[in-house]
Symmetry: C2
Subunit: 199 residues, 2 copies
């Protein structure tokens, strides 16, 4: 394929590095972009440039923002003493879509992992301990993924906060709303059975 | 979700308009881009800008190029009198991956469609007729998709070129290499049976 312009080749290679896109879908996306040059390609390049120049992590919670602190940290109505610890910004967005949580967040930026040599310092855990001490936090909700790494991290944080006089909770585990038993894995069914409640 | 910066919201909306990406994968892609700012986001914005500024259609064949004419039109070794007519640039790339065709191409930019009011003028068919006359073309290979619109377009082109003294062929239809009969549709099996050959 010496016949494709280098500029197109470079763009296809970069698009193929996005999650959810492979070489074939990257080619389709690039052709689509070239066809929609004025309405999609040019605005997308500009949107990327703007995000690259303006968006950064909130120094307090790790959420994405263009201001000094993110909108959630700046919202006084959310300073209700509840702090929700999530793995990454995608999880914060998922919690916000639910719309049930009205406190503030702390984004770890990953999970502890001996294999990838990710320690507490890399995860903003010391910052979390300082926030619990300084911001009058009454309850820390560990909304970490129900994976081995997620739960290891949850246990580590619970130990770190043991003497801080703060309630530590985690999300309930059980059958998803609208979930069919037949499609659930054994672990979820066992957990839901153990945590059964009066009807 | 008033909590996501507008810049991020805009970028997610644009990424979701790419083929193969929906709202969820667009969110994942944008978070990935923000995390890999220096190695992916900034270079991708630059690659898009460069494609937007430099890449255009070859005025002769419709392929993408940054030069006056595309590499295939500029390659004298490919002026062998064979002209392969394809629907769009993706099909040209697919033919080139096959590596079996050594002539030149003519990209229509779509198929005839009464419903979408796409006529011959929109499809560069008059240019095709002129090329056949001017470039000493001996054979036109109609490599159009085996769809109703593709085949309608093929028949229209064949009629337009009827008096031009040029051989008109189309790709063979049959069982794909490595294809299993059990997974093939009835139309393909019928076509392969009709076109059967001595073993």
């Amino acid at each position: 394929m010496g016949d494709r312009p280098r500029e197109i080749e470079t763009l296809i290679e970069m698009m193929a590095r996005l999650p959810g896109l492979g070489p074939r879908s990257a080619r389709r996306a690039v052709l689509h972009l070239v066809r929609k040059r004025a309405v999609l390609l040019v605005p997308l390049a500009e949107a990327l440039r703007r995000v690259g120049e303006t968006v950064h992590e909130c120094p307090r919670c790790g959420n994405l923002t263009t201001a000094e602190f993110c909108e959630i940290c700046s919202d006084d109505k959310r300073a209700n003493g509840e702090l929700c610890v999530v793995e990454d910004v995608a999880d914060l967005w998922a919690m916000e879509r639910g719309g049930a949580f009205t406190g503030r967040y702390h984004v770890l930026g990953g999970t502890l992992s001996a294999l990838d040599s990710v320690g507490p310092e890399e995860l903003r855990i010391p910052v979390l301990v300082a926030r619990v001490r300084d911001e009058g936090i009454a309850e820390v909700i560990l909304a970490l993924n129900a994976t081995v790494d997620g739960q290891t991290t949850a246990h580590y944080i619970a130990e770190e906060l043991a003497g801080a006089g703060v309630a530590i909770t985690s999300l309930a585990q059980g059958v998803p709303i609208g979930g069919e038993l037949d499609y659930l894995d054994d672990g979820t069914i066992s957990a839901a059975l153990k945590a059964r409640k009066g009807f």
